[in-house]
């Protein structure tokens, strides 16, 4: 048996001794410390306040208040969370459940989406029912704390929509010593309910349009009231706080029966005092549990979970190294013969070499398609099935080429396929690989050329073992949220997916879903619509689509010319529509701008989602512009005609990270009046893409995109066709490759 012990420090050494019990040591492991600093701790740079761009230390989020924003108990502070912090809070007090998702969109801009449920508050079918409210907050930190200066922030609370919690504030926070933090601010709207010291204009109460519109007519108008509080950090885990709240809770406390949003179920609690107390406990993983004493009458509690999208459990991945670029071998020893005596011999030898390269690539999750040799250049066409960071796939492919292709080949051209067509050509010299494999990655990026690949053949050669068909069977879940009758509905079942490649770029694909359990069909609410029902029949689709053909299509992808990509899809395009869809994309490899055009002619499908069609048919189409701003932000504008025949545009902005995370929002503006659109006035939503590789620490191309749409209406509805070109083609173009290039040697 072996054991490790640490002997006492002799003059200058600390030895770790590997000793076998009863036998003499066979190895001595010396941890060396120079004698003059034997007593010192020689840890490396582990700064407490590491610059945010390093992002190695775990990000510590400030306490979040009952509104899901960095704050005290009910009140906000001028604190911000670390950049890209995503926090989920679930809080409860006095029949009120508040669930919020808070995202630090920029170092100074905090955004939050909140869903509140007031139980037994409004009149329902049998007595009192729950009142649900969605709200959205923004906070911007104007000044950061520094020396004597406090941090100052301005915020808009519940600034879109019906405005149950509508209020604005200006707040300042100052740390005194290392434990105490003092906050003071001025509030408007709901934050001026009690103790107003002045006023500025009148604050209207009417709902704009049909709701869902930013309430710009209210901001910073009406009474102004002060609020404040302080928090004291007892130790690393425990913080106590107290605040003086200017929120009157006029509606919920029943204090003023004429207050807007007063429900028959009020009062939910009795507002006896303006002072709140709170206790926050932070667990090891960063989760927080808070307990509050509120308004002298009631107790509340909240759980906060937090994660930072710019941090990761295993930032560089736990996958192994892959091959190095070390030996150069002659053609013969690798199984090639260049040039060869006879054509037949050459073919045979080359087949060996190709097969070896193909197998080596397959071990790394890369699928070989074809290899063209034209000494001194070789062109490898492949498909990346494993690496979400595309430079990692390219780097590994290049290293395999360096190992398996003879020295006569001095230039490698790697052509990744997307939907069977070449997306780009990445050209790297063998000499650069050899010289730069231990150098920082950006040195290689400077030497690599990325070019258009329209002219490169994608036909598989004899060595290719590309599987034409594949299929998968697995569980699926589908959620529907925000219906006041039932805030979360879930369907779950089995999904069978299959695809067959008639040619590399011609694919037949289908997906069949069988619902096993769920309540998505229990929507009983009548959804009024002045527009053709292009999307609002989702309950019927769920009710009748027990076994549904989600899609069944033939798709063709092409390269009509340099910088041009095309798609044509025919069949049952999505759950609600069948027809024809065509798309053309112009995207030069090194351009941050791309322009696309899509035209579809579709007919609505039967509710049972089998092969039948309904009567409604329409032509929809959009012209789209995509732009990568280069600082992590990405914008998209689509303008055209939507499914209900309305014309307009959708604007989307996303914040994108090199690790695959994406968070963004979109809004559509069409020629449909707010009255015709209905509740919500216009279409908007949030979306988030979660990369599996970030969660697991291993390479993966899987990702899950979640779209949160407050309301499903018929205005600004786009066809949900699969495999739209831009998002797939962009992966192998210069802007995205440069962002993720750090992984090329991984």
């Amino acid at each position: 048996m072996l054991f490790i012990n640490t002997t006492g420090r002799s003059a200058g050494f600390r030895r770790l001794v590997l000793a076998a019990k009863g036998t003499t040591a066979i190895a001595t492991l010396a941890a060396l410390l120079p004698h003059e600093v034997a007593a010192q701790d020689t840890d490396g740079p582990r700064s407490q306040n590491s610059p945010s761009h390093i992002s190695f230390d775990p990000a510590i989020a400030p306490s979040h208040n009952l509104y899901g924003m960095p704050g005290l108990i009910d009140l906000p502070t001028a604190d911000v969370a670390p950049d890209a912090q995503l926090t989920t809070t679930i809080g409860y007090f006095a029949n009120t459940t508040r669930t919020s998702f808070s995202f630090q969109l920029l170092p100074r801009l905090t955004t939050s989406f909140r869903y509140t449920a007031l139980a037994d508050y409004v009149t329902g079918d049998d007595g009192l029912a729950t009142y649900y409210d969605r709200s959205f907050d923004l906070k911007y930190q104007l000044i950061e704390e520094d020396g004597w200066r406090p941090s100052v922030a301005v915020g808009l609370r519940d600034f879109i929509g019906t405005g149950l919690y509508s209020g604005e504030y200006l707040v300042a926070t100052k740390s005194i010593g290392s434990r105490l933090q003092v906050t003071a601010g001025l509030g408007w709207g709901r934050l001026a309910g009690r103790g107003a010291i002045g006023g500025f204009g009148t604050r209207p109460n009417d709902v704009l349009d049909e709701g869902g519109v930013p309430t710009y007519d209210r901001w910073f108008r009406g009474d102004i009231a002060p609020f404040g509080g302080l928090s004291y950090r007892v130790n690393d885990r425990l913080t106590v706080s107290a605040e003086y709240s200017s929120d009157a809770y006029a509606a919920e406390s029943g204090a003023d029966p004429s207050a807007p949003f007063t429900g028959p179920g009020a009062p939910l609690f009795d507002r006896k005092s303006s002072v709140n107390f709170g206790l926050d406990y932070r667990f090891k993983g960063g989760t927080q549990l808070s307990v509050y004493s509120l308004y002298g009458d009631t107790i509340g509690a909240q759980l906060s979970f937090s994660t930072n999208l710019r941090r990761s459990p295993a930032p560089s991945g736990i996958e192994g190294r892959g091959v190095g670029v070390y030996q150069r071998a002659s053609a013969k020893s690798l199984g090639w013969d260049l040039p060869s005596t006879t054509a037949a011999d050459a073919a045979g030898e080359a087949a060996n070499g190709r097969a070896r390269l193909r197998d080596a690539l397959a071990a790394d999750g890369l699928t070989y398609q074809r290899l063209d040799l034209a000494p001194p250049r070789a062109t490898l066409v492949l498909r990346n099935d494993r690496y979400g960071a595309e430079p990692q796939a390219l780097g590994r492919a290049a290293r395999h080429m360096a190992q398996w292709l003879p020295t006569e080949i001095r230039e490698f051209r790697i052509v990744p396929l997307v939907n069977g067509v070449p997306a780009s050509a990445v050209i790297v010299a063998r000499a650069d690989l050899e010289h730069l494999q231990h150098a920082p990655a950006d040195k290689l990026l400077k030497r690599v050329k990325i070019a258009d690949a329209a002219a490169i053949s994608n036909a598989p050669d004899a060595a290719s073992q590309l599987a034409r068909s594949n299929w998968s069977l697995g569980p699926y879940t589908q959620f529907s949220v925000f219906d006041p009758d039932n805030p979360i509905r879930i369907d779950a079942g089995l999904r069978l997916r299959a695809s067959y490649a008639l040619r590399p770029n011609l694919e037949v694909s289908g997906s069949l879903a069988h619902k096993i359990v769920g309540n998505l069909d229990s929507v009983s609410r009548e959804i009024p619509s002045n527009l053709p029902r292009v999307r609002t029949d989702y309950a019927e689709y769920s009710r009748q689509g027990q076994t549904a053909i989600e899609h069944l299509t033939i798709s063709h992808f092409g390269r009509p010319g340099t910088d041009l990509y095309s798609r044509a899809t025919v069949g049952y395009l999505e759950t609600m529509y069948a027809g024809v869809s065509g798309e053309l994309l112009w995207k030069p490899v090194d351009s941050p701008l791309a322009i696309g055009a899509e035209l579809n002619h579709v007919r609505q499908r039967d509710f049972d989602q089998r092969f039948g069609l309904r009567d409604y048919q329409t032509t929809t189409g959009h012209v789209s512009a995509y732009y990568a701003f280069g600082n992590g932000f990405h914008g998209q504008i689509d303008a055209g005609r939507y499914l209900a025949g309305d014309y307009g545009a959708t604007i989307a902005v996303d914040r994108e990270f090199a690790n695959g995370w994406r968070i963004g929002a979109y809004a559509s503006f069409t020629d449909v009046s707010a009255a015709d659109y209905g509740e919500g006035s216009f279409d908007k939503g949030l979306r988030m893409t979660i990369p599996l590789s970030w969660v697991l620490g291993k390479p993966s191309r899987s990702e899950n995109t979640v779209t949160l749409q407050p309301l499903t209406r018929d205005g600004a509805a786009r066809l949900d066709v699969r495999d739209r070109l831009y998002q797939r083609v962009r992966d192998y173009h210069t802007p995205d490759l440069s962002n993720e290039w750090g992984r090329v040697w991984r």
């Binding site: 560089s316 494999q437 879940t477 739209r724």
Partner: protein
């Protein structure tokens, strides 16, 4: 019957994976249908399952490897080394698998690797928190020649956001005394060299025991802001 050496992987998945998974599940509470744009998509259900599988496998697997070190030292043709991370319970055995361009690559049985140029660690792979690349030509030259001097270092990492982070340091190299070393089949003496590096993000100290031909036989080198330093020692050259 030689002595047996129990090895375990120096890399531990930490609690942050758990927090990430929990928050993910919370965020996924409001998932809608996944779209098919972009890369291959999964649903909430299969994503959750993948996270759960990974979580369970991390808990169950602590790769233990019984290695007959004495036999390995006698029969192995490749160089052998040991790596002991600061915060890790046990050292790990590495075998040289590749050599070229002045560098040697040492790999563990689990596929993690250390790349070193004549004993100076310039990269690691598979630790989850890797040193991606190092530029320390000045340091390497001074250490090999066992002379004092100053040099600059550039060390490159990947952060959780997928971005490349470069840390730069100014280093002072000093000569120290002669020390014997008895490690594996290596029994000799070497010169102790000390490198003190300072940078905007902090400072660290590396110590090296250098053989007469300039090869670093044993050293304590700082690798990564999260991992800290590691002892890297040759058992067989």
């Amino acid at each position: 019957m030689g002595a047996r050496l129990a090895m375990s992987s120096p890399m531990k998945m930490n609690n942050r994976l758990r927090t990430a998974a929990l928050t993910l599940c919370a965020a996924l509470m409001v998932t809608a249908c996944s779209s098919s744009a972009g890369k291959q998509t999964t649903d909430g259900a299969s994503l959750g399952k993948a996270v759960f599988d990974q979580f369970m496998s991390r808990r169950n697997a602590t790769p233990q490897q019984q290695v007959d070190l004495a036999t390995m030292l006698q029969t192995s043709r490749n160089a052998l080394a040991i790596l002991a991370l600061e915060n890790s319970p046990a050292p790990t055995l590495l075998q040289e698998t590749e050599r070229g361009s002045g560098a040697q690559v040492f790999e563990t049985a689990a596929g993690q690797s250390v790349t070193a140029k004549r004993g100076l660690v310039i990269a690691t792979r598979g630790l989850g928190q890797d040193l991606i690349a190092t530029e320390a030509h000045g340091t390497a030259k001074l250490i090999a020649q066992r002379t004092a001097g100053s040099a600059q270092r550039r060390m490159e990492y990947l952060n959780g956001a997928g971005e490349t982070v470069t840390l730069r340091f100014d280093c002072q190299i000093k000569r120290d005394r002669i020390e014997p070393i008895d490690s594996g089949v290596i029994k000799t003496t070497g010169r102790l060299m000390v490198e003190d590096c300072n940078g905007a993000e902090g400072s660290f100290r590396n110590t090296y025991l250098v053989a007469n031909d300039g090869y670093i036989l044993s050293s304590r080198q700082w690798l990564h802001p999260q991992l800290g330093s590691a002892t890297f020692q040759m058992l067989k050259r």
